[in-house]
């Protein structure tokens, strides 16, 4: 996973790739949390531009990170979800709580 930490803005950007399903989620979860805990950023940006497929397990992944990030008084931003992923996110309540660009 590519990551960029912007010191000035205290923002951490993580670039997810390929398919997010229940199988890949388990590994993704601990890697993402590892970065968040290491940098304790004010903002965490999940870049979904390269994610071609995501099902509801990805929703669970995002919701879980959202909870963690809220506890750390930071905010979560999603960048570049494709149309089907956008639809899925909007189906759930986090669609209203998270900034999507």
């Amino acid at each position: 996973m590519k990551y960029t930490y912007d010191k000035e803005n205290e923002s951490l950007k993580l670039e997810l790739i390929e398919e997010i399903d229940m199988n890949s989620c388990k590994a993704l979860r601990s890697i993402i949390d590892g970065y968040i805990i290491k940098y304790n950023p004010k903002e965490c940006i999940l870049d979904l531009n390269k994610v071609s497929f995501m099902d509801s397990s990805g929703l669970g992944l995002i919701m879980g990170r959202h909870s963690l990030i809220k506890m750390l008084n930071a905010k979560l931003t999603l960048v570049g979800p494709n149309e089907s992923i956008k639809k899925i996110i909007k189906l759930s309540h986090i669609g209203k709580e998270i900034r999507i660009i």
Partner: protein
């Protein structure tokens, strides 16, 4: 005209993507728009993942997916059955409530059935406690027709 495919997998999460690529390859025989293919893949992914995550306690159990692509009067239909032989669903109404999940600790979003309903035209759930669950999904494909002009 119809075309049938049946896939039987072991209940391992790594096999969900095998099912996705196979069904994608099947649908690609018709000229279906990419976003529709993605939505169908997502619905199937939900149903198969559910069988693996919720139906069984033991390994080496089976999940059976059968897909039928059929053309009736110039319209293309995709029918998919996803079946397990596991514990079954006690309360289907409750299970299909958006956000309801019995595995929140594993970060399940409880949105599987909602996504299947949203992305497919029809869903039927047939479940018996102790003997398994069968999900039927149907979608009329937005096949691009070759114009004769």
């Amino acid at each position: 005209m119809e075309n049938n495919i049946k896939i039987e997998i072991d209940n391992k999460l790594c096999n969900v993507s095998v099912v996705r690529v196979a069904i994608t390859s099947l649908i690609s025989q018709k000229d279906v728009p990419l976003d529709e293919i993605t939505e169908i893949k997502t619905a199937i992914s939900e149903a198969v993942t559910n069988c693996i995550e919720h139906a069984y306690e033991e390994e080496n159990q089976k999940v059976v997916i059968s897909a039928k692509l059929s053309t009736i009067d110039d319209m293309d239909f995709l029918l998919i059955n996803i079946e397990d032989f596991g514990i079954g669903i006690e309360d289907v109404d409750l299970a299909t409530t958006p956000g309801y999940t019995t595995k929140p600790e594993l970060e399940h979003a409880g949105m599987g059935f909602t996504i299947m309903e949203t992305f497919m035209d029809e869903i039927t759930i047939d479940s018996k406690m102790g003997s398994g669950t069968k999900i039927k999904l149907m979608k009329k494909l937005r096949t691009r027709k070759v114009s004769n002009i």
